[in-house]
Protein backbone atom coordinates (compact mmCIF):
# COMPACT_ATOMS: atom_id res chain seq x y z
CA UNK A 1 0.00 0.00 0.00
CA UNK A 2 1.26 3.46 -0.88
CA UNK A 3 1.54 5.50 2.27
CA UNK A 4 1.33 9.31 2.13
CA UNK A 5 4.20 11.01 3.96
CA UNK A 6 2.84 12.58 7.10
CA UNK A 7 5.85 12.44 9.39
CA UNK A 8 5.71 15.31 11.83
CA UNK A 9 9.43 15.48 12.38
CA UNK A 10 11.12 16.10 9.05
CA UNK A 11 14.53 14.95 10.26
CA UNK A 12 13.29 11.38 10.51
CA UNK A 13 13.99 9.12 7.65
CA UNK A 14 10.90 7.56 6.21
CA UNK A 15 12.74 4.28 5.82
CA UNK A 16 13.22 3.75 9.53
CA UNK A 17 10.07 2.35 11.10
CA UNK A 18 8.60 4.40 13.92
CA UNK A 19 8.24 1.21 15.89
CA UNK A 20 9.90 -2.11 15.42
CA UNK A 21 9.34 -5.31 17.38
CA UNK A 22 11.85 -8.10 16.90
CA UNK A 23 11.11 -11.56 18.30
CA UNK A 24 9.16 -10.03 21.14
CA UNK A 25 7.79 -12.42 23.73
CA UNK A 26 6.51 -12.32 27.27
CA UNK A 27 6.04 -15.18 29.69
CA UNK A 28 4.28 -15.08 33.03
CA UNK A 29 5.70 -18.13 34.73
CA UNK A 30 4.78 -20.99 32.44
CA UNK A 31 2.12 -18.99 30.62
CA UNK A 32 3.21 -17.48 27.32
CA UNK A 33 1.27 -14.26 26.80
CA UNK A 34 3.21 -13.13 23.75
CA UNK A 35 5.14 -15.69 21.70
CA UNK A 36 7.61 -13.99 19.43
CA UNK A 37 6.27 -11.06 17.49
CA UNK A 38 7.98 -9.31 14.61
CA UNK A 39 6.38 -6.09 13.50
CA UNK A 40 7.24 -2.82 11.87
CA UNK A 41 4.98 0.19 12.19
CA UNK A 42 5.69 3.02 9.79
CA UNK A 43 5.91 6.63 10.87
CA UNK A 44 2.55 8.35 10.63
CA UNK A 45 0.68 5.10 10.38
CA UNK A 46 -2.56 4.23 12.17
CA UNK A 47 -1.84 0.66 13.17
CA UNK A 48 -4.31 -1.51 15.05
CA UNK A 49 -3.58 -4.59 17.09
CA UNK A 50 -6.78 -6.56 16.86
CA UNK A 51 -7.65 -9.73 18.69
CA UNK A 52 -9.92 -11.38 21.23
CA UNK A 53 -9.35 -10.81 24.94
CA UNK A 54 -6.37 -12.74 26.21
CA UNK A 55 -4.62 -12.81 22.83
CA UNK A 56 -1.68 -10.79 24.15
CA UNK A 57 -2.42 -7.50 22.45
CA UNK A 58 -2.56 -5.47 25.65
CA UNK A 59 0.60 -7.15 26.96
CA UNK A 60 2.30 -6.22 23.68
CA UNK A 61 1.13 -2.63 24.03
CA UNK A 62 2.32 -2.48 27.63
CA UNK A 63 5.74 -3.71 26.53
CA UNK A 64 5.82 -0.89 23.98
CA UNK A 65 4.86 1.60 26.70
CA UNK A 66 7.49 0.24 29.08
CA UNK A 67 5.19 -1.21 31.73
CA UNK A 68 6.13 -4.80 31.00
CA UNK A 69 9.64 -6.09 30.46
CA UNK A 70 9.85 -8.46 27.48
CA UNK A 71 11.08 -11.96 28.27
CA UNK A 72 12.95 -11.94 24.96
CA UNK A 73 13.13 -9.69 21.97
CA UNK A 74 13.84 -6.08 21.12
CA UNK A 75 11.74 -2.94 20.78
CA UNK A 76 13.09 -0.13 18.62
CA UNK A 77 11.62 3.29 18.06
CA UNK A 78 12.91 5.18 15.06
CA UNK A 79 15.87 2.83 15.10
CA UNK A 80 16.70 3.37 18.76
CA UNK A 81 16.65 0.36 21.09
CA UNK A 82 14.22 1.18 23.92
CA UNK A 83 13.78 -2.36 25.26
CA UNK A 84 15.31 -1.62 28.66
CA UNK A 85 14.17 1.99 28.85
CA UNK A 86 11.67 2.81 31.62
CA UNK A 87 8.23 4.08 30.65
CA UNK A 88 9.08 7.58 31.82
CA UNK A 89 11.97 7.86 29.36
CA UNK A 90 10.26 6.40 26.29
CA UNK A 91 9.13 8.52 23.36
CA UNK A 92 5.66 7.02 23.71
CA UNK A 93 2.50 8.03 25.49
CA UNK A 94 -0.37 5.80 26.39
CA UNK A 95 -4.09 6.47 26.37
CA UNK A 96 -5.38 4.12 29.04
CA UNK A 97 -8.52 2.08 28.72
CA UNK A 98 -9.90 3.65 31.90
CA UNK A 99 -8.32 7.03 31.07
CA UNK A 100 -6.53 7.32 34.43
CA UNK A 101 -6.95 11.06 34.66
CA UNK A 102 -5.63 12.54 37.89
CA UNK A 103 -8.88 13.16 39.78
CA UNK A 104 -7.50 15.91 42.03
CA UNK A 105 -6.32 18.04 39.13
CA UNK A 106 -8.11 20.26 36.65
CA UNK A 107 -8.28 19.34 33.00
CA UNK A 108 -5.53 21.88 32.32
CA UNK A 109 -3.25 20.44 35.01
CA UNK A 110 -3.85 16.92 33.75
CA UNK A 111 -2.84 17.85 30.23
CA UNK A 112 0.06 20.00 31.42
CA UNK A 113 1.45 17.22 33.65
CA UNK A 114 3.85 15.75 31.09
CA UNK A 115 5.12 19.16 29.97
CA UNK A 116 5.68 20.27 33.55
CA UNK A 117 7.63 17.11 34.27
CA UNK A 118 9.84 17.94 31.30
CA UNK A 119 10.21 21.52 32.60
CA UNK A 120 8.79 23.15 29.51
CA UNK A 121 8.53 26.94 29.89
CA UNK A 122 5.30 28.09 31.48
CA UNK A 123 4.12 30.17 28.53
CA UNK A 124 4.79 27.26 26.16
CA UNK A 125 2.80 24.94 28.41
CA UNK A 126 -0.22 27.24 28.38
CA UNK A 127 -0.03 27.52 24.60
CA UNK A 128 0.46 23.83 23.87
CA UNK A 129 -2.17 22.66 26.34
CA UNK A 130 -4.65 25.18 24.96
CA UNK A 131 -3.99 24.05 21.41
CA UNK A 132 -4.32 20.38 22.26
CA UNK A 133 -7.58 20.91 24.16
CA UNK A 134 -8.79 22.71 21.06
CA UNK A 135 -7.80 19.78 18.85
CA UNK A 136 -9.60 17.27 21.06
CA UNK A 137 -12.60 19.56 21.47
CA UNK A 138 -12.61 20.14 25.22
CA UNK A 139 -11.12 23.64 25.45
CA UNK A 140 -14.10 24.92 27.41
CA UNK A 141 -13.52 22.33 30.17
CA UNK A 142 -10.01 23.59 31.00
CA UNK A 143 -10.85 24.63 34.58
CA UNK A 144 -13.01 21.64 35.46
CA UNK A 145 -11.84 18.96 37.82
CA UNK A 146 -11.16 15.70 36.01
CA UNK A 147 -13.60 13.82 38.24
CA UNK A 148 -16.47 16.06 37.10
CA UNK A 149 -16.25 14.96 33.47
CA UNK A 150 -18.41 12.54 31.54
CA UNK A 151 -16.88 9.44 29.96
CA UNK A 152 -16.58 11.03 26.54
CA UNK A 153 -15.00 14.17 27.95
CA UNK A 154 -12.53 12.14 29.99
CA UNK A 155 -11.64 10.28 26.83
CA UNK A 156 -10.83 13.53 25.02
CA UNK A 157 -8.80 14.88 27.94
CA UNK A 158 -6.86 11.61 28.17
CA UNK A 159 -6.09 11.89 24.47
CA UNK A 160 -4.97 15.50 24.86
CA UNK A 161 -2.83 14.62 27.88
CA UNK A 162 -0.96 12.04 25.83
CA UNK A 163 -0.75 13.93 22.51
CA UNK A 164 0.47 17.20 24.01
CA UNK A 165 3.82 15.53 24.66
CA UNK A 166 4.24 14.95 20.91
CA UNK A 167 5.05 11.27 21.34
CA UNK A 168 6.87 9.47 18.54
CA UNK A 169 4.30 6.74 18.94
CA UNK A 170 0.92 7.15 20.60
CA UNK A 171 -0.34 3.95 22.20
CA UNK A 172 -4.06 3.52 22.74
CA UNK A 173 -5.45 0.68 24.85
CA UNK A 174 -9.08 0.13 23.82
CA UNK A 175 -9.76 3.79 24.51
CA UNK A 176 -13.33 3.75 23.25
CA UNK A 177 -14.55 0.56 24.91
CA UNK A 178 -16.16 2.38 27.84
CA UNK A 179 -18.27 4.68 25.67
CA UNK A 180 -21.78 4.02 24.41
CA UNK A 181 -22.21 2.91 20.81
CA UNK A 182 -23.17 6.26 19.33
CA UNK A 183 -20.41 8.21 21.03
CA UNK A 184 -17.96 5.49 20.11
CA UNK A 185 -18.73 5.86 16.42
CA UNK A 186 -18.27 9.62 16.61
CA UNK A 187 -14.99 9.26 18.51
CA UNK A 188 -13.73 6.75 15.94
CA UNK A 189 -14.15 9.31 13.20
CA UNK A 190 -12.63 12.08 15.31
CA UNK A 191 -9.69 9.98 16.41
CA UNK A 192 -8.91 9.14 12.82
CA UNK A 193 -9.17 12.82 11.86
CA UNK A 194 -6.87 13.90 14.69
CA UNK A 195 -4.37 11.24 13.73
CA UNK A 196 -4.39 12.30 10.09
CA UNK A 197 -4.06 15.94 11.05
CA UNK A 198 -1.18 15.53 13.50
CA UNK A 199 0.53 12.75 11.56
CA UNK A 200 1.39 10.95 14.80
CA UNK A 201 2.02 7.23 14.65
CA UNK A 202 -0.86 5.48 16.41
CA UNK A 203 -0.77 1.95 17.76
CA UNK A 204 -4.32 1.13 18.66
CA UNK A 205 -5.35 -1.96 20.60
CA UNK A 206 -8.92 -3.15 20.18
CA UNK A 207 -11.05 -6.26 20.14
CA UNK A 208 -13.63 -4.60 17.92
CA UNK A 209 -13.01 -5.63 14.31
CA UNK A 210 -15.37 -2.98 12.96
CA UNK A 211 -13.41 -0.29 14.75
CA UNK A 212 -10.10 -1.63 13.47
CA UNK A 213 -11.34 -1.96 9.89
CA UNK A 214 -12.72 1.53 9.88
CA UNK A 215 -9.82 3.47 11.41
CA UNK A 216 -6.61 1.67 10.55
CA UNK A 217 -4.06 2.01 7.79
CA UNK A 218 -2.96 -1.50 8.69
CA UNK A 219 -4.15 -4.10 11.14
CA UNK A 220 -2.22 -6.79 12.95
CA UNK A 221 -4.45 -9.63 14.07
CA UNK A 222 -3.29 -11.43 17.18
CA UNK A 223 -4.29 -14.80 18.47
CA UNK A 224 -2.85 -16.77 21.40
CA UNK A 225 0.24 -14.57 21.60
CA UNK A 226 1.06 -14.63 17.90
CA UNK A 227 0.51 -12.20 15.03
CA UNK A 228 -1.61 -14.09 12.53
CA UNK A 229 -1.71 -11.49 9.80
CA UNK A 230 -0.55 -7.92 9.24
CA UNK A 231 -2.26 -6.20 6.34
CA UNK A 232 -4.53 -3.38 5.25
CA UNK A 233 -8.15 -3.57 6.38
CA UNK A 234 -9.23 -4.38 2.83
CA UNK A 235 -6.75 -7.21 2.52
CA UNK A 236 -7.61 -8.58 5.96
CA UNK A 237 -11.27 -8.65 5.10
CA UNK A 238 -11.00 -9.91 1.58
CA UNK A 239 -8.00 -12.18 1.87
CA UNK A 240 -7.69 -13.45 5.43
CA UNK A 241 -4.40 -15.34 5.71
CA UNK A 242 -5.48 -17.84 8.33
CA UNK A 243 -8.72 -19.51 9.37
CA UNK A 244 -8.57 -17.59 12.65
CA UNK A 245 -8.39 -14.24 10.87
CA UNK A 246 -11.22 -15.25 8.58
CA UNK A 247 -13.36 -16.25 11.51
CA UNK A 248 -12.46 -13.30 13.73
CA UNK A 249 -12.91 -10.59 11.15
CA UNK A 250 -16.47 -11.59 10.41
CA UNK A 251 -18.99 -14.38 10.08
CA UNK A 252 -17.63 -16.93 7.69
CA UNK A 253 -18.67 -20.18 6.05
CA UNK A 254 -16.11 -22.87 5.52
CA UNK A 255 -16.38 -25.65 2.97
CA UNK A 256 -14.20 -28.71 2.79
CA UNK A 257 -13.72 -29.29 -0.91
CA UNK A 258 -12.19 -32.15 -2.85
CA UNK A 259 -11.02 -31.06 -6.27
CA UNK A 260 -12.69 -33.27 -8.87
CA UNK A 261 -12.97 -33.16 -12.62
CA UNK A 262 -12.11 -30.22 -14.84
CA UNK A 263 -15.20 -28.75 -16.45
CA UNK A 264 -15.06 -25.83 -18.85
CA UNK A 265 -11.51 -25.05 -17.74
CA UNK A 266 -12.18 -24.99 -13.99
CA UNK A 267 -11.79 -27.66 -11.33
CA UNK A 268 -15.09 -28.51 -9.70
CA UNK A 269 -16.36 -30.52 -6.77
CA UNK A 270 -19.73 -32.08 -7.60
CA UNK A 271 -21.81 -33.55 -4.85
CA UNK A 272 -25.50 -34.44 -5.21
CA UNK A 273 -27.08 -31.76 -7.31
CA UNK A 274 -24.43 -29.24 -6.21
CA UNK A 275 -21.51 -27.94 -8.18
CA UNK A 276 -18.72 -25.91 -6.57
CA UNK A 277 -15.89 -24.33 -8.54
CA UNK A 278 -12.68 -25.02 -6.62
CA UNK A 279 -10.36 -22.01 -6.27
CA UNK A 280 -7.59 -21.82 -8.84
CA UNK A 281 -4.32 -23.52 -8.03
CA UNK A 282 -5.84 -26.59 -6.45
CA UNK A 283 -5.01 -29.75 -8.39
CA UNK A 284 -7.64 -32.45 -9.05
CA UNK A 285 -7.70 -34.93 -6.19
CA UNK A 286 -6.49 -32.46 -3.57
CA UNK A 287 -8.58 -31.62 -0.52
CA UNK A 288 -8.82 -28.02 0.50
CA UNK A 289 -10.73 -25.86 2.92
CA UNK A 290 -12.29 -22.78 1.45
CA UNK A 291 -14.14 -19.88 3.02
CA UNK A 292 -17.18 -18.06 1.79
CA UNK A 293 -18.49 -14.78 3.21
CA UNK A 294 -22.22 -14.93 3.95
CA UNK A 295 -22.85 -11.71 2.02
CA UNK A 296 -21.18 -13.12 -1.11
CA UNK A 297 -23.67 -15.98 -1.31
CA UNK A 298 -27.24 -15.60 -2.46
CA UNK A 299 -30.43 -17.65 -2.78
CA UNK A 300 -31.77 -18.42 -6.26
CA UNK A 301 -35.12 -16.82 -6.79
CA UNK A 302 -34.79 -14.73 -3.64
CA UNK A 303 -31.93 -12.37 -4.40
CA UNK A 304 -29.95 -11.69 -7.54
CA UNK A 305 -26.42 -12.98 -8.03
CA UNK A 306 -24.05 -14.63 -10.45
CA UNK A 307 -23.98 -18.29 -9.66
CA UNK A 308 -21.30 -20.42 -11.18
CA UNK A 309 -21.26 -22.41 -7.95
CA UNK A 310 -24.41 -23.68 -6.31
CA UNK A 311 -25.69 -26.11 -3.70
CA UNK A 312 -29.20 -27.27 -2.92
CA UNK A 313 -30.34 -27.45 0.64
CA UNK A 314 -33.01 -26.93 3.25
CA UNK A 315 -33.49 -23.71 5.18
CA UNK A 316 -32.77 -24.41 8.86
CA UNK A 317 -33.69 -21.02 10.22
CA UNK A 318 -33.93 -17.37 9.32
CA UNK A 319 -32.55 -14.62 11.56
CA UNK A 320 -34.02 -11.23 10.85
CA UNK A 321 -31.53 -8.48 11.74
CA UNK A 322 -33.08 -5.27 10.48
CA UNK A 323 -31.08 -4.13 7.47
CA UNK A 324 -29.91 -7.66 6.75
CA UNK A 325 -31.20 -11.11 7.46
CA UNK A 326 -29.25 -14.32 7.74
CA UNK A 327 -30.54 -17.59 6.38
CA UNK A 328 -28.87 -20.80 7.45
CA UNK A 329 -29.10 -23.57 4.86
CA UNK A 330 -28.23 -27.20 5.44
CA UNK A 331 -26.35 -28.58 2.40
CA UNK A 332 -24.18 -31.51 1.35
CA UNK A 333 -21.15 -29.38 2.29
CA UNK A 334 -22.42 -28.54 5.74
CA UNK A 335 -24.44 -25.60 7.03
CA UNK A 336 -24.01 -22.40 5.06
CA UNK A 337 -25.12 -18.97 6.20
CA UNK A 338 -26.35 -16.59 3.55
CA UNK A 339 -26.58 -12.92 4.47
CA UNK A 340 -29.03 -10.83 2.46
CA UNK A 341 -29.95 -7.19 2.45
CA UNK A 342 -33.57 -7.30 3.60
CA UNK A 343 -34.68 -4.64 1.14
CA UNK A 344 -33.34 -6.66 -1.80
CA UNK A 345 -35.25 -9.82 -1.01
CA UNK A 346 -38.01 -10.53 -3.50
CA UNK A 347 -39.84 -12.79 -1.07
CA UNK A 348 -39.72 -14.05 2.50
CA UNK A 349 -37.84 -17.30 3.11
CA UNK A 350 -39.14 -19.68 5.76
CA UNK A 351 -37.55 -22.56 7.61
CA UNK A 352 -37.96 -25.98 5.94
CA UNK A 353 -38.02 -24.55 2.44
CA UNK A 354 -35.88 -26.10 -0.32
CA UNK A 355 -33.47 -23.49 -1.71
CA UNK A 356 -30.44 -23.21 -3.95
CA UNK A 357 -27.43 -21.33 -2.53
CA UNK A 358 -25.22 -19.82 -5.18
CA UNK A 359 -22.12 -17.65 -5.47
CA UNK A 360 -19.61 -16.42 -7.97
CA UNK A 361 -16.48 -18.57 -8.12
CA UNK A 362 -14.21 -15.71 -7.00
CA UNK A 363 -16.12 -15.45 -3.71
CA UNK A 364 -14.48 -18.62 -2.52
CA UNK A 365 -11.01 -18.36 -0.98
CA UNK A 366 -8.67 -21.01 0.30
CA UNK A 367 -6.92 -20.62 3.63
CA UNK A 368 -3.76 -22.41 4.72
CA UNK A 369 -5.21 -24.85 7.20
CA UNK A 370 -8.59 -26.47 7.71
CA UNK A 371 -11.15 -24.05 9.07
CA UNK A 372 -12.96 -25.00 12.23
CA UNK A 373 -16.16 -26.72 11.20
CA UNK A 374 -18.31 -23.99 12.74
CA UNK A 375 -20.02 -22.16 9.91
CA UNK A 376 -21.49 -19.36 11.92
Amino acid sequence: MKEPQRVNEPAMSADVPALELVGLSKNYGAAEAVRGIDLEVRAGEFFSLLGPSGCGKTTTLRMMAGFEVPTTGTIRMHGRDVTSMPASARPTNLVFQKYELFPHMTVFDNVAFGLRVKRVAKSDIAKRVGEMLEVTGVAELERRKAEQLSGGQQQRVALARALVNQPEVLLLDEPLSALDAKLRTRMQIELKEIQTRLGTTFVYVTHDQGEALMMSDRIGIMNAGLLEQVATPHEIYERPATPFVADFIGAMNSLKLVAGAIEEGVVVDRRGSGRVVVPAGVQPGQAVTAILRPERASLSGVTDGTHDSYLDGTVLHVVYGGATSNVMVSTEFGDITVSMVSAEQSRVVVAGEQVRVGWAADALRTVEAPVSSEAS
Binding site: F67, S88, T92, L94, L101, F102, G114, A162
Partner: protein, 264 residues
Protein backbone atom coordinates in the same frame (compact mmCIF):
# COMPACT_ATOMS: atom_id res chain seq x y z
CA UNK B 1 -35.86 8.96 61.67
CA UNK B 2 -39.29 10.53 61.81
CA UNK B 3 -41.21 9.74 58.70
CA UNK B 4 -44.59 11.26 57.82
CA UNK B 5 -46.33 7.97 58.59
CA UNK B 6 -45.18 8.04 62.22
CA UNK B 7 -47.84 8.91 64.80
CA UNK B 8 -47.20 12.11 66.66
CA UNK B 9 -46.62 10.37 69.99
CA UNK B 10 -43.91 8.19 68.45
CA UNK B 11 -42.16 11.27 67.11
CA UNK B 12 -42.17 12.86 70.55
CA UNK B 13 -40.84 9.68 72.14
CA UNK B 14 -38.09 9.43 69.54
CA UNK B 15 -37.00 12.99 70.23
CA UNK B 16 -37.03 12.47 73.97
CA UNK B 17 -34.89 9.38 73.51
CA UNK B 18 -32.30 11.31 71.52
CA UNK B 19 -32.25 14.08 74.10
CA UNK B 20 -31.79 11.55 76.89
CA UNK B 21 -28.87 9.86 75.15
CA UNK B 22 -27.20 13.19 74.41
CA UNK B 23 -27.74 14.34 77.98
CA UNK B 24 -26.13 11.18 79.33
CA UNK B 25 -23.19 11.61 76.96
CA UNK B 26 -22.57 15.26 77.58
CA UNK B 27 -23.76 15.92 81.15
CA UNK B 28 -20.32 15.19 82.70
CA UNK B 29 -18.65 17.49 80.20
CA UNK B 30 -21.19 20.20 80.79
CA UNK B 31 -20.61 19.95 84.53
CA UNK B 32 -16.85 20.21 84.10
CA UNK B 33 -17.07 23.19 81.78
CA UNK B 34 -19.75 24.92 83.82
CA UNK B 35 -17.89 24.76 87.13
CA UNK B 36 -14.68 25.91 85.52
CA UNK B 37 -16.44 29.28 85.34
CA UNK B 38 -17.81 29.12 88.89
CA UNK B 39 -17.02 32.15 91.00
CA UNK B 40 -17.12 30.17 94.23
CA UNK B 41 -14.40 27.61 95.16
CA UNK B 42 -16.86 24.75 95.10
CA UNK B 43 -17.91 22.17 92.55
CA UNK B 44 -21.48 21.84 93.62
CA UNK B 45 -24.77 23.66 93.20
CA UNK B 46 -26.11 26.22 93.82
CA UNK B 47 -24.22 27.99 91.07
CA UNK B 48 -23.29 31.40 92.42
CA UNK B 49 -21.98 33.23 89.38
CA UNK B 50 -19.52 33.29 86.49
CA UNK B 51 -15.86 34.10 86.85
CA UNK B 52 -12.63 33.52 84.95
CA UNK B 53 -10.60 33.38 88.18
CA UNK B 54 -9.75 29.69 87.85
CA UNK B 55 -8.45 30.17 84.33
CA UNK B 56 -6.43 33.11 85.55
CA UNK B 57 -5.05 31.01 88.40
CA UNK B 58 -4.29 28.02 86.18
CA UNK B 59 -2.62 30.04 83.44
CA UNK B 60 -0.33 31.64 85.99
CA UNK B 61 0.57 28.30 87.52
CA UNK B 62 4.03 27.34 86.25
CA UNK B 63 3.39 23.63 86.92
CA UNK B 64 0.27 23.73 84.75
CA UNK B 65 2.02 25.65 81.99
CA UNK B 66 4.93 23.18 81.98
CA UNK B 67 2.51 20.25 81.84
CA UNK B 68 0.62 21.86 78.95
CA UNK B 69 3.84 22.47 77.07
CA UNK B 70 4.87 18.83 77.56
CA UNK B 71 1.48 17.57 76.44
CA UNK B 72 1.63 19.79 73.37
CA UNK B 73 5.15 18.57 72.51
CA UNK B 74 4.07 14.98 73.05
CA UNK B 75 1.00 15.47 70.82
CA UNK B 76 2.90 17.10 67.97
CA UNK B 77 5.78 14.62 68.01
CA UNK B 78 3.43 11.65 68.34
CA UNK B 79 1.44 12.97 65.39
CA UNK B 80 4.47 13.51 63.18
CA UNK B 81 6.15 10.22 64.01
CA UNK B 82 3.03 8.10 63.63
CA UNK B 83 2.24 9.83 60.32
CA UNK B 84 5.66 9.04 58.89
CA UNK B 85 5.74 5.50 60.28
CA UNK B 86 2.12 4.77 59.36
CA UNK B 87 2.48 6.13 55.84
CA UNK B 88 5.72 4.32 55.07
CA UNK B 89 4.43 1.07 56.57
CA UNK B 90 1.19 1.32 54.57
CA UNK B 91 3.06 2.08 51.36
CA UNK B 92 5.43 -0.82 51.96
CA UNK B 93 2.44 -3.12 52.32
CA UNK B 94 0.90 -2.10 49.00
CA UNK B 95 3.25 -4.24 46.97
CA UNK B 96 3.40 -7.03 49.54
CA UNK B 97 1.85 -10.45 49.19
CA UNK B 98 -1.63 -11.06 50.52
CA UNK B 99 -0.36 -13.18 53.38
CA UNK B 100 2.17 -10.60 54.52
CA UNK B 101 -0.51 -7.94 54.32
CA UNK B 102 -3.03 -9.94 56.33
CA UNK B 103 -0.45 -10.79 59.00
CA UNK B 104 0.63 -7.18 59.34
CA UNK B 105 -2.94 -5.97 59.63
CA UNK B 106 -3.57 -8.46 62.45
CA UNK B 107 -0.34 -7.40 64.14
CA UNK B 108 -1.49 -3.80 63.90
CA UNK B 109 -4.82 -4.67 65.51
CA UNK B 110 -3.36 -6.49 68.53
CA UNK B 111 -2.30 -3.36 70.46
CA UNK B 112 -5.85 -2.04 70.08
CA UNK B 113 -7.26 -4.99 71.99
CA UNK B 114 -4.44 -5.37 74.50
CA UNK B 115 -5.11 -3.69 77.89
CA UNK B 116 -3.22 -0.39 77.91
CA UNK B 117 -2.48 -0.78 81.61
CA UNK B 118 -0.54 -4.01 81.07
CA UNK B 119 1.15 -2.54 78.05
CA UNK B 120 2.21 0.54 80.04
CA UNK B 121 3.60 -1.58 82.86
CA UNK B 122 5.48 -3.67 80.33
CA UNK B 123 6.89 -0.53 78.77
CA UNK B 124 7.97 0.81 82.17
CA UNK B 125 9.73 -2.44 82.99
CA UNK B 126 11.45 -2.43 79.61
CA UNK B 127 12.68 1.13 80.07
CA UNK B 128 13.95 0.26 83.52
CA UNK B 129 15.64 -2.91 82.29
CA UNK B 130 17.57 -1.06 79.59
CA UNK B 131 18.32 1.83 81.92
CA UNK B 132 16.51 4.30 79.70
CA UNK B 133 14.69 5.90 82.55
CA UNK B 134 11.39 7.74 82.69
CA UNK B 135 10.88 11.00 80.87
CA UNK B 136 8.72 12.82 78.39
CA UNK B 137 10.67 11.19 75.57
CA UNK B 138 9.89 7.77 77.03
CA UNK B 139 6.21 8.72 77.16
CA UNK B 140 6.21 9.98 73.57
CA UNK B 141 7.71 6.69 72.41
CA UNK B 142 4.88 4.91 74.22
CA UNK B 143 2.29 7.21 72.66
CA UNK B 144 3.66 6.53 69.21
CA UNK B 145 3.15 2.83 69.78
CA UNK B 146 -0.35 3.34 71.15
CA UNK B 147 -1.45 5.64 68.32
CA UNK B 148 0.31 3.90 65.44
CA UNK B 149 -2.33 1.18 64.84
CA UNK B 150 -5.03 3.83 64.33
CA UNK B 151 -2.89 5.83 61.95
CA UNK B 152 -1.78 2.71 60.11
CA UNK B 153 -5.35 1.47 59.68
CA UNK B 154 -6.69 4.84 58.49
CA UNK B 155 -3.92 5.39 55.94
CA UNK B 156 -4.07 1.74 54.88
CA UNK B 157 -7.80 2.03 54.22
CA UNK B 158 -7.17 5.13 52.17
CA UNK B 159 -4.48 3.41 50.11
CA UNK B 160 -6.86 0.51 49.50
CA UNK B 161 -9.08 2.93 47.64
CA UNK B 162 -6.19 4.52 45.76
CA UNK B 163 -5.99 3.56 42.07
CA UNK B 164 -2.37 2.64 41.55
CA UNK B 165 -2.91 2.63 37.81
CA UNK B 166 -2.83 6.42 38.14
CA UNK B 167 0.87 6.06 38.86
CA UNK B 168 1.37 4.32 35.54
CA UNK B 169 -0.19 7.35 33.89
CA UNK B 170 2.28 9.56 35.75
CA UNK B 171 5.24 7.38 34.74
CA UNK B 172 4.01 7.35 31.17
CA UNK B 173 4.07 11.15 31.22
CA UNK B 174 7.71 11.08 32.30
CA UNK B 175 7.43 11.32 36.09
CA UNK B 176 9.99 9.62 38.35
CA UNK B 177 8.59 7.42 41.13
CA UNK B 178 9.26 10.16 43.68
CA UNK B 179 7.55 12.81 41.56
CA UNK B 180 4.59 10.52 40.95
CA UNK B 181 4.30 9.97 44.70
CA UNK B 182 4.44 13.70 45.42
CA UNK B 183 2.10 14.83 42.66
CA UNK B 184 -0.39 11.96 42.54
CA UNK B 185 -0.30 9.57 45.51
CA UNK B 186 0.26 12.06 48.30
CA UNK B 187 -2.34 14.66 47.29
CA UNK B 188 -4.95 11.93 46.95
CA UNK B 189 -4.30 10.31 50.32
CA UNK B 190 -3.40 13.54 52.12
CA UNK B 191 -6.81 14.00 53.79
CA UNK B 192 -6.47 10.58 55.40
CA UNK B 193 -2.86 11.21 56.41
CA UNK B 194 -3.73 14.55 58.01
CA UNK B 195 -6.82 13.09 59.66
CA UNK B 196 -4.81 10.21 61.07
CA UNK B 197 -2.09 12.58 62.31
CA UNK B 198 -4.56 14.77 64.13
CA UNK B 199 -6.22 11.72 65.65
CA UNK B 200 -2.83 10.56 66.92
CA UNK B 201 -2.26 14.01 68.44
CA UNK B 202 -5.60 13.87 70.20
CA UNK B 203 -4.87 10.38 71.52
CA UNK B 204 -1.54 11.55 72.89
CA UNK B 205 -2.89 14.75 74.47
CA UNK B 206 -5.51 12.71 76.30
CA UNK B 207 -3.41 9.70 77.24
CA UNK B 208 -3.01 8.89 80.94
CA UNK B 209 -1.96 5.31 81.59
CA UNK B 210 1.24 5.15 79.53
CA UNK B 211 2.24 8.61 80.73
CA UNK B 212 1.58 7.57 84.33
CA UNK B 213 4.10 4.75 84.14
CA UNK B 214 6.75 6.34 81.92
CA UNK B 215 6.77 10.14 82.34
CA UNK B 216 8.64 10.20 85.65
CA UNK B 217 8.92 13.79 86.84
CA UNK B 218 7.98 15.23 83.45
CA UNK B 219 4.26 15.21 84.03
CA UNK B 220 1.87 15.71 81.16
CA UNK B 221 -1.40 17.56 81.66
CA UNK B 222 -3.55 14.49 82.45
CA UNK B 223 -0.98 13.42 85.04
CA UNK B 224 -0.96 16.84 86.66
CA UNK B 225 -4.71 16.78 86.74
CA UNK B 226 -4.65 13.43 88.50
CA UNK B 227 -2.12 14.65 91.05
CA UNK B 228 -4.23 17.72 91.79
CA UNK B 229 -7.37 15.64 92.25
CA UNK B 230 -5.56 13.74 94.97
CA UNK B 231 -4.88 17.02 96.71
CA UNK B 232 -8.54 17.92 96.71
CA UNK B 233 -11.09 19.16 94.26
CA UNK B 234 -11.44 22.77 93.25
CA UNK B 235 -12.66 24.48 90.05
CA UNK B 236 -9.09 25.05 88.80
CA UNK B 237 -9.12 21.37 87.85
CA UNK B 238 -12.19 22.06 85.78
CA UNK B 239 -10.40 24.88 84.04
CA UNK B 240 -7.51 22.53 83.15
CA UNK B 241 -10.03 19.91 82.06
CA UNK B 242 -11.87 22.39 79.88
CA UNK B 243 -8.65 23.51 78.19
CA UNK B 244 -7.75 19.88 77.52
CA UNK B 245 -11.27 19.23 76.27
CA UNK B 246 -11.21 22.16 73.85
CA UNK B 247 -7.79 21.12 72.55
CA UNK B 248 -8.65 17.49 71.94
CA UNK B 249 -12.15 18.03 70.56
CA UNK B 250 -10.94 20.64 68.11
CA UNK B 251 -8.23 18.23 67.00
CA UNK B 252 -10.76 15.42 66.65
CA UNK B 253 -13.07 17.73 64.75
CA UNK B 254 -10.30 18.72 62.31
CA UNK B 255 -9.45 15.04 61.94
CA UNK B 256 -13.03 14.10 61.09
CA UNK B 257 -13.34 17.00 58.67
CA UNK B 258 -10.16 16.03 56.84
CA UNK B 259 -11.05 12.37 56.59
CA UNK B 260 -14.59 13.02 55.35
CA UNK B 261 -13.26 15.47 52.76
CA UNK B 262 -11.51 12.58 51.04
CA UNK B 263 -14.71 10.58 50.87
CA UNK B 264 -16.62 13.26 49.05
Amino acid sequence: MSTPSMPRSTKVMARLYVVAVLAFLFAPLVVVVLFSFHSAPRMSFPFEGFSLRWYDQVLHDQLVIDAMRRSAIAAVLTGLMTAVLGLTASLALVGARTRVRATTMVAAMVPLTFPTLLYAIGLAITYHFFGIGYSLRATIAGHVIVALPFVFLIIGASLDRFRFSLLEAAFDLGASPWLAFRKVTLPLILPAVLGATVLAMALSADEFVVAFFTAGQEKTLPLLLYARINQGLDPSLNAIGTILLVATTSLAWVSAARTSKENQ
